[in-house]
């Protein structure tokens, strides 16, 4: 997800950083000029982007609270970025006050920021790891600790696999992570798709070529295939607002404009 460079990863403020750009879309100020510039250009080209990002956060909230409601208390948030708006531990604890969360990101700035946020929380940990090396990620003490009791774990791969190129094989990553999860665990996944807005997808990908990680949007089939080995819960892989909306009326007439696809599966 990153290019090789001597400047410590993510600390180069001249390179747009995908986590900080995401924060821009959400109206945050955890970002620098280069991030805001990329976000501005992206929104100019695709004005719905902030809505889509909010819809993704809303999906996170619904999915986490749904899974917490199903009794899951352990969450592994991979590609957690800057968890500024409704971080998983806050969202989950509305339902499961003892919920444990391990945040994982490759970006050391996002990692440091998350550490500041959960510094005093004994049930949370932040790990800097590269998901393209699932074995290395799973071997981190905090992750291993989360998995050790063999209780169900919810793995969250939200808006992160589109930063993995085809050569890096996202299906392999999901497969290797899944193999480590105990039975009854869950996978919540959202992913930028080529559906909905095919007219802007490629230009959007081009824009991200200069960011810390390039974008690879995928088709519905490719995204559904990532759930191999999981039992997809209703309503399957759908546009972000369509996944178990709290208020069906809020979905709106054109969910495809949200472009992002999302789903939740259970490991039998």
């Amino acid at each position: 997800m990153t290019r090789r460079r001597w400047v410590p990863e993510g600390t180069d403020q001249d390179v747009p950083n995908v986590a900080r750009v995401y924060d821009c879309y959400l109206g945050g100020s955890h970002n620098f000029a280069a991030d805001r510039e990329l976000a501005r250009e992206a929104v100019e080209m695709w004005p719905d982007l902030p809505l889509i990002m909010r819809a993704n956060r809303a999906f996170l909230r619904r999915a986490v609270q749904f899974l917490a409601g199903e009794g899951i208390t352990r969450f592994l948030d991979i590609g957690s970025g800057l968890p500024t708006f409704g971080p998983v531990h806050e969202v989950a604890r509305v339902v499961q006050p003892e919920a444990r969360v391990v945040y994982v990101d490759i970006d050391p700035v996002a990692v440091q920021h998350s550490r500041l946020l959960v510094a005093d929380d004994p049930l949370c940990a932040v790990v800097e790891a590269d998901m393209r090396d699932p074995a290395g990620l799973l071997a981190r003490p905090a992750v291993a600790e989360l998995l050790r009791p063999r209780e169900p774990v919810a793995a969250l791969l939200l808006a992160v696999l589109h930063f993995v190129t085809d050569e890096e094989d996202p299906a392999r990553i999901v497969r290797e992570l899944s193999a480590a999860l105990p039975a009854g665990s869950a996978l919540a996944l959202s992913h930028g798709s080529r559906e909905g807005r095919p007219d802007v997808v490629e230009k959007h990908e081009d824009l991200y070529a200069r960011a810390s990680a390039p974008l690879t949007m995928r088709t519905r089939e490719e995204i559904v295939a990532l759930f191999e080995g999981f039992r997809l819960l209703e309503p399957g892989v759908v546009y972000l607002p369509e996944w178990r909306p709290q208020d069906p009326a809020a979905v709106g007439p054109h969910p495809e404009l949200f472009s992002g696809l999302a789903g939740v599966g259970l490991k039998p």
């Binding site: 090789r4 600390t11 959400l26 945050g28 909010r54 609270q65 409704g86 050391p108 700035v109 500041l116």
Partner: protein, 708 residues
């Protein structure tokens, strides 16, 4: 619900609350959990109602409402614009409307500013922590590498691409007996040693130019104290993140002890323990190496020496004295000749040899022989005896291409034998003529059939070039005999014998077959660019009844176009008009083979017969041109050649001059109108692969591949 004084439900207030709720539930609000959003809507509406209705007017609740929105991340200015609009549309009981809206906006803005600053601080702090973390990791890794670098058992040095040493570890300093200061700034390229393996510096330059990533070799270095250290060297290129070569790192393992041991073992295997000189094995190795890949025109010299009457010394003074004498002789030979770069060896007994790996001519061989005899002239003091020792020497000085290692040894032995026979205490120079006589006395002819069976013959080819443009139009096949005892023999040394014994017939057939096969391969590969093949036909072959059938069969089996074959018949083989063999020559020409007269001008020639012979050309014997050389400018000689050329031309014959050695010869012959030339100037007899190379080169290519 806000109930204004009087308890009446205020319709405007209800309208405001509805609009307010709608505003907060769209956009960002859609992502906010309903459990959070509901209370937020209620609480902010309540605060705004208080600011709107309570007396006296207090802007505080409106400010708090604005701040609460920002806390819930309603940071989009569009939300503020809409909120102001709604507040303005809600008529206030007095003139507090603008103040209320202003207080709300101020509360929102102040909270946003705080939030923005807080978040900027947080993200900068995160960046700072990340950078420090990275630096710590970098430092830790650097410390690990530094420890490894410093404590490594092998010597390590970093240098820039110009070869300037930047940093070296302590092992390397110890290896070079130098301090870090001594070595810093030292240039790698100055660390040459005469025993550097060939190509090591070329390889090094490929590396620093980024053409290779690393290389390994064994390399000696001079230490600062002058000692030599042998190392196993590994050099690697270091590139930066853009893949541009930046530095080189060299790792050196001290293998001096192994090297010494190896040298010691090698020395023992190759040296004579009595005198410390190289032994016969070592001498032969060096001699044979000369023949591996000789440069063009390379010459060498070989001296064989034995002490006159050494047996008597041994017998009369005892073996110990004999050994002392051999040691003393070895010392003198070594100190007399080794400084000239020549190899001195003891071949066994009282037999010594000197190898001159490079020589410029016989006089150099003679000079060495004289020097050797000179060093042995002063008396030797053995015990309390003064001994005068004399030695005989055979000297061979030849082009490397003219012989082989074993033939040279044989020649030098024969020459030493002659030296002894002709009176001791002298040197004798190898004489090819006398050697040839000696060789022919070897009853060579009886060996020819066996040699044919064993494949001891081979062909070299000498170019014949057109004088006008220098193009190689033909090659002459010249037979050689790789004699197992005598080395490589030229045709002069055995053809006469072969003719006398009649063995020229099978030998000639062999030559024709192989020359035709070679010619066919060239024709196959190069078409018209392939040279014509000239093959000598001996008198006896010309008169042989089977000649036509032989040649016909050979042409068929080699699949060679007869037009590409030319037979050279010596003048002495010229037949009179009534000779029955004349019929055979006409038949050959009828087959398409051409004939030429060889060695023209050397024998008795009935020029009139030339007209009746089916020949298409003649070759002027090399002696004509070479004699012009010997006598300097010789207008008469040139006129004779000119006469031969015009005579030949008047008969419609083309003329080839042999023995052409200089550009001036060629120029002169061209002016005379001579057609072709053969001789050293145009190329010596060479292996077929060399001819192939010339064809390719002439065709504009530079590719030189295998023979054929």
């Amino acid at each position: 619900m806000s109930v204004p004084a009087g308890g009446r439900v205020d319709a405007a207030a209800v309208r405001f609350r509805d609009s307010w709720s709608r505003l907060l539930r769209q956009g960002h609000g859609a992502a906010v959990s309903p459990g959070v959003l509901g209370p937020l809507v209620y609480r902010t509406a309540e605060l705004l109602s208080r600011a709107h209705g309570e007396d006296p007017f207090d802007p505080g609740p409106a400010e708090r409402a604005g701040a609460l929105l920002v806390d819930a991340q309603f940071t989009d200015p569009v939300v503020l614009a809409h909120a102001v609009e709604l507040l303005q549309q809600w008529p206030a009981p007095d003139d507090r409307g603008p103040a209320l809206t202003g207080a709300f906006a101020a509360g929102w803005s102040a909270a946003l500013r705080d939030r923005t600053l807080r978040e900027q601080e947080a993200i900068r702090r995160a960046v700072d922590l990340a950078r420090r973390e990275a630096e710590r990791a970098l430092y830790a890794s650097e410390a690990r590498f530094r420890a490894m670098f410093e404590r490594a058992a092998i010597g390590i040095g970093f240098a820039d691409l110009e070869g300037n040493l930047l940093v070296v570890n302590s092992t390397l300093q110890d290896m070079f007996a130098a301090t870090a200061e001594d070595m810093r700034g030292l240039n790698v390229e100055s660390l040459v040693h005469p025993e550097d393996s060939s190509g090591v510096w070329e390889t090094y330059h490929e590396l620093v130019q980024g053409e290779r990533e690393n290389f390994q070799c064994d390399k000696p270095y001079y230490r600062r104290d002058g000692e030599v250290i042998w190392t196993h060297l590994t050099v690697s290129l270091i590139r930066d993140e853009q893949d541009t070569p930046r530095y080189q790192v060299a790792m050196l393992e001290d293998i001096t002890d192994q090297h010494r041991l190896q040298e010691r073992l090698r020395h023992q295997a190759t040296h004579d323990p009595l005198t410390g000189l190289p032994n016969r094995t070592a001498f032969f190795e060096r001699l044979e190496a000369l023949f591996d890949d000789p440069g063009p025109g390379a010459r060498f010299g070989l001296c064989s020496l034995d002490l006159d009457g050494f047996k008597n010394i041994n017998n009369s003074l005892g073996h110990e004295a004999g050994d002392q004498l051999l040691g003393a002789v070895a010392d003198r030979l070594h100190s007399g000749v080794a400084p000239l770069g020549h190899l001195v060896a003891r071949l066994g007994g009282d037999e010594f040899a000197v190898l001159m790996e490079r020589s410029r001519g016989p006089q150099e061989g003679i000079a060495v022989a004289q020097r050797v005899l000179g060093t042995l002239a002063p008396p030797f003091l053995i015990g309390d005896q003064q001994l005068v020792v004399r030695a005989s020497m055979g000297v061979v000085e030849q082009p490397v291409s003219a012989t082989t290692a074993s033939a040279a040894m044989r020649s030098v032995d024969l020459t030493l034998y002659r030296a002894k026979k002709e009176g001791r205490g002298r040197w004798t120079l190898f004489d090819p003529q006398r050697n040839a006589v000696a060789v022919s006395q070897y009853a060579m002819s009886v060996r020819i059939p066996m040699a044919l069976d064993r494949g001891e013959f081979f062909l070299d080819y000498q170019p014949l070039c057109a004088l006008d443009d220098g193009a190689m139009v033909a090659v002459e096949a010249l037979v050689r005999w790789r004699h197992p005892e005598l080395g490589v023999l030229g045709p002069d040394e055995f053809i006469m014998t072969a003719e006398d014994s009649g063995l020229i017939i099978p030998l000639g057939r062999w030559v024709l077959l192989h020359a035709c096969e070679q010619a066919a391969r060239w024709a196959d590969r190069f078409g018209d660019a392939a040279p014509r093949m000239n093959v000598n036909l001996a008198v006896r072959q010309a008169r042989n009844a089977g000649l036509i059938a032989d040649i016909d069969r050979i042409l068929r089996s080699s699949d060679l176009d007869p037009g590409r074959l030319q037979l050279e018949i010596t003048e002495s083989a010229m037949l009179g008009p009534r000779d029955p063999a004349l019929q055979a020559l006409h038949e050959l020409v009828g087959m398409g083979v051409s004939l030429t007269v060889d060695d023209f001008g050397t024998g008795w020639s009935n020029l009139a017969y030339l007209r009746d012979l089916p020949v298409s050309g003649l070759k002027i014997d090399g002696s004509f041109v070479s004699e012009l050389h010997a006598s300097g400018e010789d207008p008469v000689g040139w006129r004779i050649i000119g006469g031969m050329v015009s005579l030949a031309h008047s008969l419609g014959l083309s003329v080839t001059a042999e023995g052409v050695e200089t550009a001036a010869d060629a120029q002169r012959l061209r002016a005379i109108g001579c057609d072709c030339a053969q001789g050293w100037y145009y190329g010596r007899p060479v292996r077929p692969g060399e001819i192939t190379r010339r064809i390719v080169e002439a065709a504009g290519g530079t590719r030189a591949d295998g023979e054929g």
